[in-house]
C-alpha cells in the first residue's frame, strides 16, 4: 500500500490541463500552486499492481513535463535487515 508524493512540472502552458488529467486519475490527490507552474501530486494506491498501472498512466500524460519523487512509503517494505 504505497504512498508517494511528487513535484509535477506541467508542459508549457498546460498547468490547467495537467490538473484536470491528474484529478481524473484514481488514487491521486492534487495540490496546485497558486502562483507558480508547479503541482504537488500525492498518490495512495492499495497494492503494487495498481501502483504499476498508475505509473504507466502518469508516464503517458501529454500535459506532464516531469515528475520528481519527494516522499515515498510502502507498508510492504521491510524495515532494517533480515
Amino acid at each position: 500500500m504505497p504512498i508517494f508524493s511528487y513535484i509535477a512540472i506541467p508542459a508549457s502552458g498546460a498547468k490547467k490541463a495537467l490538473c484536470m488529467d491528474l484529478n481524473s486519475l484514481a488514487h491521486c490527490e492534487v495540490i496546485v500552486s497558486d502562483n507558480k507552474d508547479v503541482v504537488v501530486l500525492v498518490t495512495d494506491t492499495p497494492d503494487n499492481d495498481t501502483e504499476d498501472k498508475l505509473q504507466k498512466s502518469l508516464n503517458n500524460l501529454q500535459s506532464l513535463q516531469s515528475l520528481s519523487l519527494a516522499f515515498g512509503y510502502d507498508d510492504n517494505e521491510k524495515q532494517g535487515r533480515d
Binding site: S33, D34, V40
Partner: protein, 772 residues
C-alpha cells in the same frame, strides 16, 4: 481534527513535497492545501463557496486553533479567481456574533425556555405527527431557503413529499427566482442558464436589466469592468428604474418607468424586425412562435388560481402583435426616448457584436416576471445571440443555492428532484429512489409561498417548520402573515443561527450549524455545484439543518429512508440525490470529484463540464444533428412568446402618489441577520433609510436624516431620509433597503405576484409620504 495513521502519512507526503517545491520555486504558495491545525499559530486553509450571494465565489477559510479567523479568495475557483467582495472577506465573523443561538428553546407558558436539543426534536416530531393525524397531511408544512445546502433541501423534500405525503414544501427562492424558472421553462422547457461566467470575457455589450450588479454581484461586476478596461470595444448599458452605482459605472444609463420594461423589450424586437436584423437561419431552424393568455390578474386574493395556455402563432402574427410597440409609442409609456430604444436594438442587432444581458430581482420580482424573462429571451433569439461564448441572456441568482437546492432539488410545491409531482413517471422515479410507495407522493401541488402563509393565517396549515430564512421580515404585506403565525393553535418551529423576527414567533427554536460548521454543497448561478467540508465545530448544541430533519424523520418511523450515519451522511445523500439527474442533460459530478474541485458545472458528462448548453459544440445532450438543439421542448426549438405590456398591480394615483421600490445594499445581505453581526459591515450601514429624489425631498421639506413616514394601503413605516446618496430614484419614486429589522418595510409592500411564477413584486406598489 481526527487523523489515522494513513492520513498522517499522506499529510507527511504532501508537506514534504510542498517544502521541496518551495525550495525549487521560491515564494510558491499552495493556498488549497489543508495544513494541520495546532496551537502554534499556524493557519490552515480550506476551500468553500462563499455563504452569501448566488455568484458562488470560491473562498479559502483560514482556521487556527479550531476557529475560523480569515478568508481569502480561492485562486483555483474560476468564478472569482482569487477575488472577494467586502461581505466575502469578512464572512467568518458572522460565525461568532455574541447572540448566537447555541441551545434549543421551547415556548412554555408563553416564555421561551432552554431545553436539550433532543427534547426539542422530540417535541417537533410529536407536534408534527399530532397535527397531521388530527388535521390531515396538508396541515403541516416546511419552508426553507436558497441558503439551504443541497442535502438540507433534499432530505426536506424526501421527508415531506415522499414520507409524509404532502406537497407543502416551499422555499424563499419563490420570492427571488421563481420568475426566472418559469421564464426558462416556458421559453426553453428546461431550467437554468445556458451560458456561464466566461461570457463576460467574450461579450462586447452588456445590458443590465433592472440589475444593480455593482452592489448585488460586485465580483461579477468587477470582472465586467476589467473586461472593458482590457479591451477597446466593450460597452455597458444600465437599463433601470433608478440611478445606482451600476449606472455611474456604465457607459450609458437609461431609466424607464416601473413595469414598462415589458413594452421596451417588445419595442426592441419591433426594431430588430423592422431593420431586418433578424438572424433568419437561426430563427427558421431553431425558433417557434407562441402566445398565451392576457389580462392574467395579480393574485392579491386568497385561493387565486391561474393556468396559462400556449397557442402557436406564426411569424407574421408575431410581427403584427409588435406593431403596438413602436419606439415612439413606447416612449410615451416608458419615458425612454425612442432614440435610446433604437440604440439598444441596434446593439442587439449588430451581427459583429456579442451581447450579454444580465438580470436578477428587477425582472423576477415583477407581477409579469415570467413575461419579461420571455421577452428578453425573444430579443436574443431573434438575433441568434444565445448559447455561444459572449452571447448570453443571463439570469443571476441572489442566494448561494437558489439554483442548487431550490431549482435543482425541487423544493417547491409542484417540484420533485427530477420533474414535477403532476407527472406519473416523475413520481414513480422519486418513489423508487426514495424507497416509498408511489401513492405517497400526491400528484397535486398545494401552496406556493404567499398562499402557504395565507393558509397559515387561515388555519389550513397549523404546523410550519422554517429553516435558514426569515419570512417575518421578507413576506410582502407582512402584518397579515405575522399575525397569522401568532394565532393560538399554530405551531411554528424555526431553525436558525441568530434571533430574528421569525424566531420571535416560534414555539420551538432549534440552534443551527452555519456554513462551514457543517459539510454541504451549494449550486450557483452558472450551474456550478460547490462542495464544502466541515471546517470548524458548530457552537453548543447547534446541529446542521439536514441532521435536524433526519432526527425528526427517524422519530416518525422513517429510519429506512434516512439510514445514514452522522459521520458520512452528506456523501450518502449526494450519491442518492444525483441518481435523479443521471443522463447528459443534467449529469452531476460524483461526491469524490466535488470534494476535490472548487466547483463543477453540470451537465458533467464523461468527466467534462458543459459551458454552453444547447450548442452542439459544447453540449453532449444535443442530438438533432444541427448546430443548436433546444432539447427542453418537444419541438426541439426555443419559443418566442408574444407577451404584451400590462400595468402593475398597484400604481401611483392621486391619494398614493409615489412608487415604492425595495432592495438591498452592498454591505448587507438580505435581512441582515448575518451581516449585521459583522461589525465592519454593520458600522458601514447601521440602519436602513428611504432614498428620495432631491426635488421630492424639497417639496416635502425634509433634509438628509430627517424622518419620513411612508404610508400605503397596508401599513406605514417612519424612517430617515437619504438624499443624493448612493442611489437616486427619479421623481415620484422612493427606494428602501429591507435589511434592517428595525424598519420592516414589508409591512407597507403589496403581496401581488406573477400569476405564472407566483413570485411577489417587491419593486412596485403605491405609497404617499409625510414629513414625520
Amino acid at each position: 481534527m481526527k487523523l489515522n495513521r494513513r492520513k498522517f502519512l499522506k499529510y507527511a507526503a504532501a508537506s514534504s513535497a510542498i517544502a521541496t517545491a518551495g525550495a525549487l520555486f521560491p515564494g510558491a504558495s499552495f493556498g488549497s492545501w489543508q495544513n494541520l491545525s495546532n496551537n502554534s499559530g499556524l493557519i490552515s486553509w480550506q476551500k468553500a463557496p462563499c455563504r452569501f450571494c448566488g455568484t458562488g465565489c470560491g473562498v479559502l477559510v483560514g482556521v487556527s486553533d479550531g476557529r475560523a479567523v480569515a478568508v481569502k479568495g480561492d485562486p483555483n475557483c474560476s468564478v472569482n479567481k482569487g477575488l472577494c467582495c467586502m461581505k466575502g472577506y469578512h464572512s467568518v465573523q458572522m460565525l461568532y456574533g455574541k447572540d448566537r443561538i447555541t441551545t434549543a428553546k421551547v415556548r412554555k407558558n408563553g416564555e421561551m425556555v432552554e431545553v436539550p436539543i433532543q427534547e426539542a426534536l422530540d417535541l417537533v416530531a410529536e407536534k408534527l405527527k399530532e397535527t397531521k393525524d388530527k388535521h390531515g397531511k396538508d396541515s403541516v408544512a416546511i419552508y426553507g431557503s436558497g441558503q439551504w445546502t443541497i442535502p438540507d433541501g433534499y432530505v426536506a423534500s424526501k421527508l415531506f413529499k415522499g414520507c409524509l405525503g404532502t406537497n407543502n414544501v416551499e422555499a424563499n427562492a419563490r420570492l427571488c427566482m421563481a420568475s426566472a424558472v418559469t421564464g426558462f421553462m416556458t421559453s426553453f422547457g428546461i431550467d437554468e442558464p445556458m451560458g456561464c461566467y466566461e461570457d463576460m470575457d467574450n461579450a462586447n455589450v452588456f445590458i443590465t436589466w433592472g440589475n444593480n450588479m455593482a452592489e448585488m454581484h460586485p465580483v461579477l461586476f468587477s470582472r465586467m469592468l476589467a473586461n472593458r478596461k482590457r479591451r477597446t470595444n466593450v460597452t455597458i448599458i444600465d437599463f433601470a428604474t433608478r440611478s445606482t452605482r451600476t449606472s455611474q459605472a456604465a457607459d450609458k444609463s437609461i431609466l424607464f418607468r416601473p413595469q414598462t420594461d415589458l413594452a421596451v423589450a417588445n419595442a426592441i424586437c419591433y426594431e430588430i424586425i423592422k431593420n431586418d436584423w433578424v438572424d433568419w437561419n437561426f430563427v427558421n431552424e431553431h425558433v417557434s412562435f407562441h402566445k398565451g393568455k392576457t389580462n392574467i390578474g395579480y393574485g392579491t386574493e386568497d385561493h387565486f388560481a391561474f393556468k396559462d395556455k400556449a397557442e402557436s402563432i406564426n411569424f407574421a402574427e408575431y410581427k403584427t402583435f409588435l406593431e403596438d410597440y413602436t419606439p415612439e409609442k413606447v416612449e410615451k409609456l416608458s419615458g425612454v426616448p425612442a432614440k435610446d430604444i433604437k440604440y439598444m436594438a441596434a446593439l442587439y442587432g449588430d451581427p459583429d457584436l456579442k451581447v450579454t444581458s444580465f438580470w436578477c430581482m428587477g425582472m423576477n420580482q415583477h407581477t409579469r416576471g415570467t413575461w419579461i424573462n420571455n421577452l428578453v429571451y425573444n430579443i436574443h433569439l431573434l438575433v441568434g445571440k444565445i448559447s455561444t461564448p459572449g452571447n448570453s441572456p443571463f439570469s443571476l441568482t441572489g442566494q448561494p443555492s437558489a439554483c442548487g437546492t431550490v431549482r435543482e432539488v425541487g423544493t417547491l410545491t409542484h417540484k420533485l428532484p427530477h420533474g414535477v409531482v403532476m407527472k406519473e413517471d416523475h413520481r414513480k422515479m422519486a418513489a423508487e429512489i426514495w424507497d416509498v410507495p408511489v401513492e405517497n407522493i400526491d400528484p397535486k401541488p398545494t401552496y406556493h409561498t404567499v398562499e402557504m402563509f395565507r393558509a397559515l393565517d387561515r388555519g389550513d396549515i397549523k404546523f410550519i417548520w422554517i429553516q435558514v430564512t426569515n419570512p417575518m421580515v421578507t413576506m410582502p404585506n407582512l402584518t397579515r402573515y405575522r399575525n397569522g403565525a401568532l394565532k393560538d393553535d399554530r405551531f411554528v418551529v424555526v431553525s436558525d443561527v441568530y434571533p430574528t423576527p421569525t424566531t420571535d414567533v416560534a414555539d420551538v427554536i432549534l440552534p443551527a450549524a452555519l456554513w462551514v460548521e457543517q459539510e454541504g454543497m451549494f449550486g450557483n448561478s452558472e450551474r456550478r455545484t460547490q462542495h464544502f467540508a466541515q471546517i470548524v465545530d458548530p457552537p453548543g448544541e447547534a446541529m446542521s439543518d439536514t441532521w435536524q430533519i433526519i432526527e425528526v424523520a427517524r422519530r416518525l418511523g422513517f429510519e429506512k429512508q434516512f439510514p445514514w450515519s452522522e459521520d458520512d451522511y452528506i456523501g450518502g445523500i449526494w450519491e442518492e440525490y444525483r441518481k435523479f439527474h443521471a443522463g447528459p442533460k443534467h449529469e452531476m459530478a460524483s461526491y469524490k470529484i466535488l470534494k476535490e474541485r472548487s466547483g463543477v458545472q453540470w451537465p458533467f458528462v464523461n468527466g467534462k463540464e458543459t459551458r454552453w448548453r444547447f450548442n452542439a459544440k459544447y453540449d453532449p445532450a444535443c442530438t438533432n444533428g444541427k448546430d443548436f438543439d433546444f432539447y427542453g421542448k418537444k419541438d426541439h426549438k426555443a419559443w418566442i412568446w408574444a407577451r404584451p405590456y400590462e400595468p402593475a398591480a398597484e400604481s401611483p394615483d392621486s391619494e398614493y402618489n409615489f412608487w415604492l421600490n425595495t432592495g438591498r445594499v452592498i454591505e448587507h445581505w438580505h435581512t441582515g441577520s448575518l451581516t449585521r453581526r459583522i461589525p465592519v459591515l454593520h458600522n458601514a450601514v447601521p440602519s436602513s433609510y428611504v432614498e428620495l429624489h432631491p426635488e421630492d425631498a424639497a417639496d416635502l421639506g425634509v433634509v438628509n436624516g430627517e424622518m419620513v413616514k411612508i404610508i400605503s394601503r397596508r401599513g406605514e413605516m417612519t424612517m430617515p431620509a437619504q438624499i443624493k446618496g448612493r442611489g437616486v430614484p427619479p421623481r415620484g419614486m422612493v427606494f428602501v433597503p429591507f435589511f434592517d429589522e428595525s424598519y420592516l418595510i414589508n409591512e407597507v409592500t403589496l403581496d401581488a405576484f406573477c400569476p405564472i411564477s407566483k413570485q411577489p413584486d417587491y419593486k412596485k406598489c403605491a405609497v404617499r409620504l409625510e414629513k414625520a
